[in-house]
C-alpha cells in the first residue's frame, strides 16, 4: 500500500514539495535512457501519489466492464447515424406508399 512512497524513498506523510524533490532525485539516479524500467516505476509511483490515488491491491485484480468507458461523443455520432438512416427509410416509406 505504501509501495509508491517506498519507491520514491519517502514517508506517506511527505508534502507535495518533498514528493517532487524525491521524484527529481530518483530521476537523477535512474535516467530514462539508461534505466527505462526503473524510470517507468518511478514515474508510475509519482503519478499515483500526485493524483492521490495510491494503487490499492484489490484494484489490481478488478475486471472493469467495457461499458463503463463509453464516451458520450461516439454515442452521439451513433445516434446521428441511426437518425439519418431513419429519415431515409421514412422517405422510402412515403415513396412506397404513394
Amino acid at each position: 500500500m505504501n509501495s509508491n512512497y517506498d519507491r520514491l524513498g519517502i514517508s506517506p506523510t511527505a508534502n507535495p514539495a518533498e514528493v517532487k524533490a524525491a521524484y527529481h532525485a530518483k530521476l537523477r539516479e535512474f535516467p530514462a535512457h539508461t534505466h527505462p524500467e526503473d524510470f517507468k516505476a518511478i514515474r508510475t509511483a509519482y503519478e499515483a501519489i500526485r493524483t492521490g490515488a495510491a494503487s490499492q491491491p484489490e484494484d489490481f485484480f478488478k475486471i472493469r466492464p467495457l461499458e463503463a468507458t463509453i464516451d458520450p461523443e461516439p454515442l452521439n455520432q451513433l445516434r446521428e447515424r441511426v437518425m439519418a438512416q431513419l429519415e431515409v427509410s421514412l422517405d422510402d416509406l412515403i415513396r412506397a406508399t404513394f
Partner: protein, 593 residues
C-alpha cells in the same frame, strides 16, 4: 577519440552543435556560417551542392535543387535529380536528409579536427513514428550512430538556461519553416519536464511563402491581365520574391517587389512591380496563426494549467520573427514573450546538451518528455443500441511520459470466437479508422467459449525512441501474438543495404570535395562586393586574437552576415555590416588600450 554532436535538422536551416567544458556552442562552417540551409542540389556539371550554394541556384535551376525536404520525411515521395549530364536518380526524403546530415558531420569534423560518429538529432514534437524513423535512418546513412531522437521544443527548453531551484513553467512556441509545435514545460533546476505537447507537422513559414506567392501571382494578373507562367523557373522566382517580401515585412510596414521579365504579351516584356503592405500579409496568414493559438489552448489544458500559470514564453524558429506572431501570442496569453532566446540556434544547442548527457560529459540536465499522440487499438463496444465495431480504445493517452508501458484487458465479442485481430492506431479520433494505422496482427487458437468470457490482455510498450511494441496475451491458455511497430512507412534497410547507402553517399562527397571548395571561392569573389569581402577578411583575422566569449559573438555576426549575403537580404546586409564594423572597432580599441 570521436565526438558526439547535437543536430537540428530543420526544414529551412540546419545546425550542428557540441558541448565542451559544460558549454554548448554551434559549430561554424568553413566560411563562419552557423546555419546550413537545408538545401541540396547538383550543379549543371553534376556536382553535389549542399547548403548556401544549392540555395543560390534554386531560383535558376529548381529542377536540380531540392529544399524543405523535411516536409516529406516518412513518405515515399521521390525527388528526381540529375546526377550526370544525362543521368538522373530518384531520391527518397531520408536520402536527401542524409546528404544534409553528412554535410553537417563534415562541418563538425573540420571545425573540431576530430571524427564525429554519434549524434542526437531533433525532430518536431508532433512528428509521427514514421517521420522519426526516417530521420533516424537518414542519420545512419550519413554515418552517424543516432543516440536519441529528441523533440525540438524540448531541446529549446533544455538550452534555455533558467536553472533556478524555483520551478518555472514555460511555454515553448516553435514555428519553423515547415512545422509547428507548442510544448508546456516545467523547469526545476536541472530537471526539464514536458507536461504536454501539441502541434501541426505541416504548418510553417513555407505555407506563408506559398500564400504570398499566390498573392503576388494575383497582383500580376490584375496588372497585366495575364497569368504568371506556370513553369518551374518562373514559379521559383516568384517564390523567392515571396520569401524576400516576408522577411522584409518583419522589419518594415511595406515591401517592394520587382521581378523583371516574368512573362510577355506579344513582344512586350511583363514585369511584376508592386508593393505589399504588412497588413496584406497579415490578413493572409492570420487564419493559420489562429490554428496555432488553438494548439496552445489544448496544450495548456492537457497540462492542466491556465495562461496565467505560465512564468515565461519562449519563441523558437525563424517564423516567430513575424511581428503578428508575437502580437497574437502576447494578446492571447496576456504576457510578452521572453527576449534573448536565439530562435535559430537554441534547438541545436539543446540537442548538444542531451548528446553531452548521453556520453557522460559534465552537463547536468535531466529530461522527461512525452508522446503527443494517443496510442490504442480498434475495439467493439457495447452500446444500448447493440455492438458497434471500430471504436478507438486508447491504451496510452496523449502526453504520457515516455518511456511508458500500459495494458488493457478486452473480452471476446462473439460466441465461440477463436481469433482476435489487434489493429493498432495513433491519433485522437474516436473512430479507429480515422487515425493513423500503425499495424495489425492476429491472435489465433483461442478456446471456443461464450462471448465475453475470454479475456485478452493487450500490452503496449513505448520506448524512449518512439518504438512501440504491442503484445496480446489470452489470459487463460496464454496464446500470444506481438508486433513491433518500427519504420511504419520507411522500409527497413538490411545492414548490407545500409552500408551500400553509406558508401554511395561517401563517394558522392569525395568526388566533389575539391570542386565544391573551388567553386565556393569563385562564387564568393563574384558575388560579394570588395568592401564586404575585406570586412569579412578582417573579421576572420580578428577572430584569432579574441577571447572565447568575444570570438563567439564575432563568429555569430560573421555567420549572420554571410547568411544575409547568400540570401541577398540587402537590408540585413547593411545592418549587419554596420554592426560588424562597430564590433571590430570596439575590440581593436579595447585591445590597444
Amino acid at each position: 577519440m570521436s565526438r558526439t554532436v547535437g543536430i537540428d535538422l530543420g526544414t529551412t536551416n540546419s545546425e550542428v552543435a557540441i558541448v565542451e567544458n559544460g558549454q554548448a556552442r554551434v559549430l561554424p562552417g568553413p566560411d563562419g556560417d552557423l546555419m546550413l540551409p537545408s538545401c541540396v542540389g547538383f550543379s549543371d556539371s553534376g556536382k553535389l551542392l549542399v547548403g548556401r550554394e544549392a540555395l543560390r541556384q534554386y531560383a535558376a535551376a529548381p529542377d536540380r535543387t531540392v529544399k524543405s525536404i523535411k516536409r516529406w520525411m516518412g513518405t515515399d515521395h521521390k525527388t528526381t535529380l540529375p546526377i550526370g549530364t544525362d543521368e538522373t536518380r530518384d531520391y527518397l526524403p531520408h536520402e536527401i536528409s542524409a546528404i544534409i546530415l553528412r554535410a553537417l558531420k563534415q562541418r563538425a569534423e573540420v571545425a573540431l579536427g576530430e571524427a564525429v560518429t554519434q549524434a542526437v538529432i531533433t525532430v518536431p514534437a508532433y512528428f509521427t513514428d514514421a517521420q522519426r524513423q526516417a530521420t533516424k535512418l537518414a542519420g545512419e546513412i550519413a554515418g552517424l550512430e543516432v543516440l536519441q531522437i529528441i523533440n525540438e521544443p524540448t531541446a529549446a527548453a533544455l538550452a534555455y538556461d533558467v536553472r533556478s531551484e524555483e520551478t518555472e513553467r514555460v511555454l515553448v512556441y516553435d514555428l519553423g519553416g515547415g512545422t509547428f509545435d507548442v510544448s508546456v514545460v516545467e523547469i526545476t533546476g536541472d530537471v526539464t519536464e514536458v507536461l504536454a505537447s501539441h502541434g501541426n507537422n505541416r504548418l510553417g513559414g513555407d505555407d506563408f511563402d506559398r500564400l504570398l506567392q499566390l498573392h503576388l501571382a494575383d497582383r500580376f494578373r490584375q496588372t497585366h491581365s495575364v497569368d504568371v507562367p506556370t513553369d518551374a523557373v518562373t514559379q521559383a522566382r516568384l517564390l523567392r520574391a515571396a520569401e524576400q517580401v516576408k522577411v522584409d515585412l518583419s522589419s518594415h510596414a511595406f515591401a517592394t517587389v520587382r521581378e523583371a521579365f516574368l512573362s510577355s504579351k506579344g513582344k512586350t516584356a511583363l514585369h511584376l512591380e508592386t508593393e505589399i503592405a504588412r497588413t496584406d500579409f497579415e490578413a493572409l496568414i492570420r487564419p493559420l496563426l489562429d490554428e496555432t493559438l488553438e494548439a496552445i489552448d489544448r496544450a495548456l489544458s492537457d497540462a492542466k494549467l491556465d495562461a496565467e500559470d505560465l512564468d515565461r514564453i519562449i519563441l523558437v524558429g525563424g517564423s516567430t520573427r513575424i511581428p503578428l506572431v508575437q502580437q497574437m501570442i502576447e494578446e492571447h496569453l496576456e504576457q510578452a514573450p521572453t527576449d534573448g532566446v536565439q530562435p535559430d540556434l537554441c534547438v541545436a544547442l539543446g540537442a548538444a546538451i542531451q548528446a553531452g548527457v548521453r556520453v557522460g560529459e559534465n552537463v547536468d540536465a535531466i529530461l522527461v518528455d512525452v508522446s503527443p499522440y494517443s496510442l490504442g487499438v480498434a475495439a467493439v463496444i457495447t452500446t444500448p443500441m447493440g455492438m458497434m465495431p471500430g471504436f478507438f480504445s486508447v491504451i496510452i493517452p496523449r502526453n504520457s511520459v515516455v518511456p511508458v508501458s500500459r495494458s488493457q484487458v478486452y473480452s471476446t465479442a462473439a460466441d465461440r470466437q477463436t481469433s482476435v485481430e489487434i489493429e493498432v492506431f495513433q491519433g485522437e479520433n474516436t473512430i479507429a479508422e480515422e487515425n493513423v494505422p500503425l499495424g495489425a496482427f492476429m491472435v489465433e487458437g483461442l478456446p471456443p467459449q461464450p462471448a465475453g468470457s475470454l479475456q485478452v490482455e493487450v500490452h503496449f510498450d513505448f520506448d524512449i525512441n518512439g518504438i512501440l511494441t504491442v503484445t496480446a496475451t489470452e489470459k487463460g491458455k496464454g496464446q500470444q501474438g506481438s508486433l513491433v511497430v518500427n519504420n511504419a512507412a520507411v522500409h527497413r534497410l538490411s545492414s548490407h543495404e545500409l552500408n551500400q547507402a553509406r558508401e554511395d553517399l561517401q563517394a558522392l562527397f569525395e568526388s566533389d570535395e575539391t570542386i565544391s571548395i573551388q567553386s565556393r571561392e569563385i562564387t564568393d569573389a563574384e558575388t560579394i562586393d570588395p568592401d564586404l569581402a575585406d570586412l569579412l577578411d578582417r573579421a576572420q583575422q580578428t577572430l584569432e586574437t579574441l577571447d572565447e566569449e568575444q570570438s563567439e559573438e564575432l563568429q555569430t555576426l560573421i555567420g549572420q552576415l554571410q547568411t544575409a549575403i547568400s540570401n541577398d537580404y540587402d537590408l540585413a546586409i547593411s545592418k549587419l555590416q554596420e554592426e560588424l564594423e562597430e564590433f571590430l572597432y570596439y575590440v581593436s580599441t579595447n585591445t590597444d588600450s
